[in-house]
Symmetry: C2
Subunit: 103 residues, 2 copies
């Protein structure tokens, strides 16, 4: 399970990853909890097969870390890496989510 | 030719629009010139039909304004609107472009 290093994270990949309604919802949920989450608890109403594709896009772009534990998968936002590389970006995404709760 | 108003611009749409190698190159070029540009001069090596699709995505998400004049099309980055709605975002995109000139 490949994760880019902090230096390998590319802003264009991150924007493409987060520029999707389901994936931005995942990012906002993870940002709110500030903790590693069981993947099944993040967006329980979205089908698992749909989410699997989104985890991959988010992981390969460097937005999240995935950690398998037994048969479960735990997900964490790479907040420190993203804040270091792209200061203000996550704050903007979280702020816009709080302005427009319908998203 | 529909352009969203400043208030209608959605961050997720903007990220999806800019999260593409050709479109981020367009945005960086327009940001560098700070002026309205003739559409044929922005990325002269990219086929016109390809660019036409990109202008639409960038316009509909609120990243650029398109102004037809006779048979020509002029393109302008909506810098003031984007800076007002998403402070720091364009600066980040321009800065990352200057760090990684290969993109």
């Amino acid at each position: 399970m490949l994760h880019p290093t902090r230096d390998q994270i590319d802003l264009v990949d991150v924007m493409a990853a987060i520029g999707h309604p389901v994936r931005v919802a995942i990012v906002r949920k993870l940002a709110a909890s500030e903790e590693e989450e069981f993947c099944g608890s993040i967006l329980p109403d979205v089908p698992k097969s749909t989410l699997t594709a989104h985890w991959r896009v988010l992981r390969e772009s460097g937005v999240i870390c995935q950690r398998p534990e037994g048969r479960k998968l735990f997900i964490r936002l790479r907040r420190a890496d993203l804040d270091d590389r792209f200061p203000g970006l996550l704050d903007l995404i979280v702020y816009e989510g709080s302005r427009a709760p319908s998203e």
